[in-house]
């Protein structure tokens, strides 16, 4: 007889963090999931994750694996990278950061190669945003900037856009179709734009807010003059949605800042919030935790005995110029970018995370752990930084946090590496 969990289950398949799933389990497997989208079903698999501990493909004891991992990671610890990937809890993030601090390593994650532009822009300017409930209940105009959430955030529309708003009488959906990146089909209005003109279009929009009676812009951007006028005079709460982690990496590096600046400026005449679509796996959780522990949301280098913010190069760039002699990957490798995976083949690597032994990265030490939200509880953050408590459904012999703590203890036994 399958048993269902008594609490609703949270999915980390994307940043929506849907917490209304109900899951049945039997004989150590997930036998049924209700309310999950296909992406979510894929994320849970059947709950059956490997539990191997290996060195170079050969099964070894936990102790042996920790010893070998310590040899790899502590040989020249200031040249070690701790790469925090997906599907581990904030408790594991905390242990990973403690280890980086203790040994003087660099700690970073996918953020560095995906949303860094947006985070840095928000550090320069701030931002105007909201939790997703404000989108669902307050926005009377929703602008999709070159994204249809349904592809990579399948239930986003159903959960946050389609419901009847409580604090607005009606809702206008506007698509800005950027090249092939079109907004949702349900949008009643569309503007077509080339990615070459994205930032210009946002400048036109901003100018349109500032000056009354601007001379109409001719050509491709004329539609944005009109849009600015309407937003200024008719809208009460404008939600702008963009994909902070687009699949194809298509991105003018100035786009996030232009979106932030426009949304902030809109607040002079109406209310507005920018919503960044974010991937799942608790990436927001890692950025938050690293911020409270170090002050920086990613790219913290402890080599000098304290965190230093190293944002000049991304992880991929640092790896490719040989900055690191060893890498500890914490978390699932399923979504590790191809270029980073390629670099990892050239550096001694330790992988600690769900499905580690299935990774097709470099040979080295792998320690399978449970995944947060499947085998482990703990705090996880939605794409808007709203926290949830993950529900453990099945058991797994190893948690990432425990492995990292063992590594820390091994390090302590060798004496502090910090000078």
């Amino acid at each position: 007889m399958p048993v269902s969990t008594d609490r609703p289950v949270i999915c980390l398949g994307c940043g929506c963090a849907c917490d209304d799933l109900s899951v049945s389990v039997a004989a150590g497997r997930i036998t049924g999931i209700e309310n999950a989208c296909p992406l979510g079903l894929k994320w849970f698999r059947d709950g059956n994750f490997p539990a191997a501990i290996q060195c170079d493909g050969v099964d070894v004891s936990f102790d042996r694996a920790i010893t070998t991992a310590a040899e790899i990671l502590f040989a020249n610890p200031r040249r070690t990278l701790i790469y925090v990937s997906d599907d581990v809890s904030c408790a594991a993030h905390g242990e990973a950061t403690a280890l980086a601090d203790r040994i003087g390593a660099t700690i970073d994650g996918p953020t560095s190669d995906t949303v860094a532009d947006g985070l840095l822009a928000a550090q320069r300017r701030g931002r105007a945003s909201a939790t997703l409930g404000e989108l669902r209940h307050r926005a009377d105009v929703v602008i999709f900037w070159g994204v249809d959430p349904s592809a990579r955030y399948p239930r986003f529309m159903e959960r946050f856009v389609t419901p009847q708003p409580v604090f607005a009488t009606a809702r206008t959906l506007i698509a800005v179709d950027v090249d092939a990146a079109h907004g949702p089909r349900v949008c009643g209005e569309r503007i077509t734009l080339s990615s070459r003109h994205e930032v210009d279009a946002l400048s036109v929009l901003r100018a349109g807010l500032r000056e009354r009676g601007t001379a109409p812009t001719e050509g491709v951007l004329a539609a944005f003059v009109e849009l600015a006028r309407r937003l200024r005079s008719d809208a009460k709460y404008v939600a702008i949605i963009f994909d902070a982690e687009p699949d194809d990496g298509r991105r003018d590096p100035d786009l996030p800042e232009a979106l932030i600046a426009f949304t902030q400026a809109l607040n002079a005449s109406t209310r507005a919030a920018l919503f960044a679509l974010r991937a799942g796996g608790n990436r927001n959780g890692f950025e938050s935790l690293l911020t409270w522990q170090t002050g920086f949301p990613f790219a913290a280098d402890f080599a000098g005995g304290h965190p230093r913010y190293v944002t000049d190069e991304s992880v991929a760039e640092r790896l490719s110029r040989g900055r690191y002699d060893a890498v500890l990957v914490v978390g699932s490798t399923v979504n590790v970018a191809v270029n980073i995976a390629a670099e990892l083949k050239r550096v001694p690597t330790v992988i600690v995370g769900p499905g580690a032994s299935e990774a097709t990265l470099a040979p080295g030490v792998v320690i399978d752990t449970g995944a947060v939200g499947i085998h482990e509880g703990g705090m996880v953050l939605r794409m808007d930084d709203v926290p949830f408590e993950a529900v453990p459904l099945l058991s797994h012999p190893t948690t990432a946090a425990d492995v990292l703590r063992s590594l820390s203890e091994r390090c302590a036994a060798r004496g502090s590496l910090r000078s």
Binding site: I10, Q123, S129, T131, G133, E134, R159, R271, A273, M379
Partner: protein, 546 residues
């Protein structure tokens, strides 16, 4: 460690809660609490000639909320210049971090402890994000800490007020405090944040409303204060009034105090709410009027929210105010609307001696301190990091204790708004050491209803700070010689030696279970989170006994 006994010998003890004002006595500690005596062979620490006080209690700061974390993230540059290497502990567990106006969490705990503070409350947490606050506090060592839950713009409560359902409001407030592990009810700009989110810029008087006549700031203050008092909460209600920072806001502040008359209520960062004059025309100190009212009304307590010159960071649920500030500075600005509950705004700021407004604010804060006739009810804060960092408390203490220090600073100020202010006319008062012990520990503890904090009587938590006596007041208060936290010697010879985890201070008042079905329905209708996902689970410390 905590089971160890210790006798602090020969210190000059300031323990105002127990009527001890500078007497030479021993303080005995066992199992983390103060005891009457320990055996003669118990370890001794000779503190003869030194000043002994209870550990400091910060009644209002911002150190661990999700909003604080957004603020931290906003200031990467300043932290480059304030690295915080890991303290050297024998067990190797010290953590590095970064400082600046909003330090990282471990560094925050260490810096509070090395300042002699052992208890702190984050004054503004959106309940929706409480889990982040608890996780941040888990990483803020040494200090016992808790937070206040934002309720003054809460959708469920506004609806109950509109419907006249005070009973449901009461049970909801009790449920909410327990569900998210909070310590007290916080009201920020009642109704004004809701108005800002709804597209109105703000509310300017206590009788305006954006939701029908019944949901006014006056009604919100009244209902929440009544309920918090009825529930018998240790710290009934913590109020940040409407119209913060606006010239002429003294009228709103006095009006708010009259609304809650006769019931216990705490008015926070009163300095920001004590201005005369008129918007766009004039700006004056109204500290005297406010002080007259507070002095005459024993049910009212306050912290000052002193501004200290230098860099600060304004961070508040009062998002309409933060927007106004952003218009003034034209610089970085964060706004986060938080569904069904509140908002969050962040603007970096710099208080300059040569800026007329900042000079006035500095003066108003000091006047509130100096005109108060009851240090138990008007206590010290800088609203860290809003008026300045908690690291500036020693400088503030010096300003309170030394007329010369005040005069020296006053002479450098932009005098534009200062004519006729009490401070300009020369306030001679100088705080005594005992009064400092009251406004930094005994008073806040009493206002917070913390029976085991802020004093050194038998049964109190053994949180003790020992200062080397000195005429250089700021230096003395910035470098305690010894600090005990729950009986553990965390600071020795001025050096941080240990960093045990702090305890979580939270409460779980009782309520009528019948309210739960209403709350559940509210979540189903309006929240993007399931009701079951909302509560904070597995808090490591038990709620305080009420």
């Amino acid at each position: 460690m905590s089971s160890e006994r210790l006798r602090l010998c020969g210190g000059i003890v300031h323990d105002p809660a127990n009527g001890i004002d500078g007497e030479v006595r021993d303080i005995c500690v066992e199992d983390g609490v103060i005891v009457a005596d320990v055996p003669r062979d118990a370890p001794r620490l000779d503190v003869s000639g030194m000043i002994v006080m209870p550990g400091g209690v910060d009644i209002h700061c911002h150190v661990a909320s999700a909003g604080v974390n957004h603020a931290r993230r906003l200031m990467p540059d300043e932290r480059r210049h304030d690295p915080a290497p890991a303290p050297q502990f024998t067990d190797g567990t010290g953590r590095s971090g970064t400082g600046g106006i909003v330090p990282s969490t471990f560094t925050t705990g260490y810096r509070y402890a090395t300042l002699g503070y052992t208890t702190a409350f984050d004054a503004a947490v959106a309940p929706l994000t409480a889990k982040v606050c608890h996780a941040s506090l888990d990483d803020t060592p040494i200090v016992d800490a808790g937070f206040f839950a934002l309720m003054g713009n809460d959708e469920f409560l506004l609806r109950q007020i509109e419907a006249g359902e005070t009973g449901l409001a009461r049970d909801y407030m009790a449920w909410l405090l327990g569900a998210v592990g909070a310590y007290a009810v916080k009201i920020v700009n009642p109704g004004g944040i809701d108005a800002w989110k709804a597209g109105h810029r703000n509310l300017n008087t206590l009788d305006e409303s954006m939701r029908g006549d019944r949901v006014t700031p006056r009604a919100i203050l009244d209902v929440l204060t009544t309920v918090a008092n009825e529930l018998g909460l240790p710290h009934p209600v913590h109020i940040h009034c409407n119209n913060l920072g606006v010239p002429g806001n003294v009228a709103t502040t006095l009006d708010s105090m009259r609304v809650v008359a006769g019931r216990r209520a705490h008015f926070t960062h009163l300095q920001f709410h004590s201005y005369g004059g008129e918007r766009g025309k004039s700006w004056t100190s109204a500290a005297a009027e406010i002080s007259d009212y507070v002095n005459a009304h024993p049910e009212i307590t306050a912290d000052v929210g002193q501004v200290m010159f230098g860099p600060a960071l304004t961070l508040s649920a009062d998002s309409p105010l933060e927007y106004l500030l952003h218009e003034t500075t034209g610089g970085k600005w964060v706004n986060l609307d938080i569904e069904l509950e509140t908002g969050c705004g962040i603007v970096p700021y710099n208080y300059e001696e040569k800026a007329a407004a900042a000079a006035l604010q500095w003066v108003v804060g000091l006047e509130l301190f100096l005109l108060s006739n009851d240090p138990w009810r008007v206590v010290l804060s800088t609203d860290h990091p809003n008026g300045g960092s908690f690291l500036a408390y020693p400088q503030l203490i010096e300003l309170l204790m030394s007329r010369d220090a005040r005069r020296e600073c006053f002479e450098r100020l932009n005098p534009r708004f200062l004519a006729g202010s009490a401070l300009a006319d020369g306030l001679a008062r100088e705080y005594t050491l005992n009064e400092i012990a009251i406004v930094t520990r005994a008073g806040p503890a009493r206002i917070l209803g913390l029976k085991r904090k802020g004093h050194l009587g038998v049964g109190a938590d053994a949180d003790v700070t020992v200062y080397q006596r000195s005429d250089r007041i700021a230096e003395m208060f910035s470098m305690p010689r010894y600090v005990l936290k729950s009986g553990v010697l965390v600071v020795e010879e001025g050096q941080l030696r240990r960093a045990p985890p702090g305890r979580r201070l939270h409460i779980r008042p009782g309520y009528d279970e019948a309210v739960v079905s209403n709350i559940r329905k509210h979540f189903e209708d309006f929240s993007t989170m399931r009701f079951e996902s909302y509560p904070v689970r597995n808090l490591k410390d038990r709620p305080l006994n009420l």
